[in-house]
């Protein structure tokens, strides 16, 4: 079942920068989709349009059943430094008016899911970069959203931490089956994670091609060293190169 369709969306910013031009993309409910493209091609803009944080200059975003609850993970952890990990994760529930005891129980549970049990009372500056990102993911998932939008969430992390978080993210996705839209500029990451990759052209961005990644889940770390993975990365790289050349 389709969740939403982005139809010929263009976005021109107030300063005249044209970030997107006639971008079209359909997203299926429950799928794991990556959006891959070079820096500045409008990936963040596309994600923000889907989240309703920006409005399209032209075109439309059509929701099959209205915009569902959604979670958003920014490129930086974007935590409130004055409150604990628990307070940060509980924020969406607090804003929804949930009682304190209940929201804290749920937030603690969400922290457990991202492997941060025991760090409820830690302040963001007491956490490592990877841990902060986990808090950010827990915050996005605490409302049990149907759609999780992630904007290069692991780009600032080291390779080892990134791999861990990739595996953990897939595990979470398999457990709860939210729809995942994952923006990245890493071919390897997009192939490892997703069922489908949308490749974007340089600015003004459009979705130039889509690649299916048929490998089965669960994908263990060993998938990342398989011949299948290498072949898929090669295909995806070639498509990305085509997209760059087409501009």
């Amino acid at each position: 079942m389709r969740l939403l369709a982005v139809r010929d969306v263009s976005k021109v910013f107030a300063n005249g920068v044209k970030a997107l031009e006639d971008a079209s993309l359909e997203i299926e409910a429950g799928e794991f989709l990556s959006v891959l493209g070079p820096s500045g091609c409008g990936k963040s803009t596309l994600l923000r349009l889907i989240a309703g944080l920006e409005t399209p200059s032209a075109g439309s975003i059509e929701w099959q059943q209205g915009r569902p609850d959604l979670g958003f993970v920014f490129q930086e952890p974007t935590l409130m430094p004055w409150t604990t990990a628990l307070g940060n994760v509980a924020l969406p529930l607090k804003l929804a008016g949930m009682a304190r005891s209940e929201r804290e129980a749920r937030a603690a549970e969400a922290l457990g899911h991202v492997g941060l049990a025991g760090f409820e009372r830690s302040y963001p500056r007491e956490l490592s970069g990877g841990m902060k990102m986990r808090v950010s993911i827990a915050r996005a998932l605490v409302t049990a959203p149907k759609l999780l939008l992630m904007d290069e969430p692991f780009a600032a992390l080291d390779e080892i931490t990134r791999r861990r978080l990739n595996t953990d993210l897939l595990e979470l996705w398999q457990r709860t089956r939210f729809t995942a839209v994952f923006v990245t500029h890493s071919v390897f990451e997009s192939v490892f994670l997703s069922q489908r990759i949308a490749v974007m052209s340089p600015r003004p961005g459009r979705v130039l091609s889509e690649i299916a990644i048929p490998a089965a889940y669960p994908r263990a770390e060993s998938f990342g060293t398989s011949a299948e993975y290498a072949a898929l990365c090669r295909t995806t790289s070639a498509r990305l190169a085509e997209a760059m050349a087409a501009a």
């Binding site: 923000r48 989240a51 309703g52 944080l53 959604l70 958003f72 920014f74 930086e76 974007t78 409130m80 430094p81 004055w82 409150t83 924020l91 969406p92 607090k94 804003l95 929804a96 302040y123 963001p124 500056r125």
Partner: protein, 257 residues
């Protein structure tokens, strides 16, 4: 760590010693320059006149600081909620700030019957701007992504103010408060100077003036010392407050150095 305290204290003692030595060796009369020992003695002997004066000055200072906090924060919040209010009022706040208090104090003292209130207004005028401008800056320096996040979860202006803008502005506000604490004291003292005798309300500034007329220079120095000590105490107290409020989360209050 200990060098931070020992070094300035040693330096201070050395300067005091030098001062005392110069005064004695050159036999400078006390009505020109009293030595530190005489000043300390005067502080004790004249305590019964100096202490009430200190209380008066401190009372005006603290009241002015409190008023500065209330008005500064309220105005800053108002500015953050309405661009129009900010555009129309901020220039006047700046005008109030750049006008020297000595120049307007006589006017205020002439207009306002109650001396206490007029002194309060003067001290407040000097003290409120750092709080206002720092808090405005803090309320605006909110992470854009966090603002988006609040919007995403349907938070209204009020919730965003309480749960996001105000906590984000706290370190800025506290920075402004530390500056304003000293300024409130300066404002109070300057206003007392301009007001002159000030009737029943005789603060430290009046004691200084009075000592000058009567050539009681050691007492003048003693009053000066009290003003400095009061300023230092205010600064230390506000720094402590800031440390206590921020130590868990803000870089400026991280333990150790």
């Amino acid at each position: 760590m200990s060098a931070r305290f020992v070094a300035p204290i040693l330096m201070g003692l050395a300067m005091l010693g030098l001062w005392e030595a110069i005064v004695r060796s050159a036999a400078i009369p006390p009505y020109i320059l009293p030595g530190p020992i005489l000043v300390a003695k005067t502080l004790v002997t004249d305590w019964s006149t100096l202490w009430p004066a200190l209380v008066v000055t401190m009372q005006i200072t603290l009241e002015a600081l409190l008023a500065a906090v209330v008005v500064g924060v309220l105005l800053a919040v108002l500015f953050s909620l309405s661009r129009w209010v900010e555009l129309s009022l901020f220039p006047y706040a700046i005008i109030l700030q750049v006008t020297p208090i000595v120049a307007i104090a006589p006017l205020i003292i002439a207009w306002v019957d109650d001396v206490h209130v007029s002194l309060l207004i003067c001290a407040w005028l000097v003290a409120f701007f750092p709080i206002l401008s720092n808090t405005v800056l803090g309320l605006r320096s909110v992470d854009r992504n966090l603002l988006d996040l609040f919007g995403l979860y349907g938070a209204g202006r009020w919730r965003t103010l309480v749960d996001l803008r105000l906590p984000a502005a706290l370190p800025y506000f506290l920075g402004g408060l530390r500056i304003s604490g000293g300024l409130a004291l300066i404002g109070a003292v300057v206003a007392e100077f301009v007001a002159g005798s000030g009737g029943r309300e005789s603060g430290l500034a009046w004691r200084i003036l009075e000592s000058g007329y009567q050539l009681k220079i050691p007492r003048m120095f003693a009053a000066l010392v009290l003003i400095s000590l009061a300023g230092i105490a205010i600064y230390l107290l506000l720094s402590l407050l800031s440390h206590l409020l921020l130590r868990r989360w803000h870089e400026s209050a991280m333990a150790g150095e």
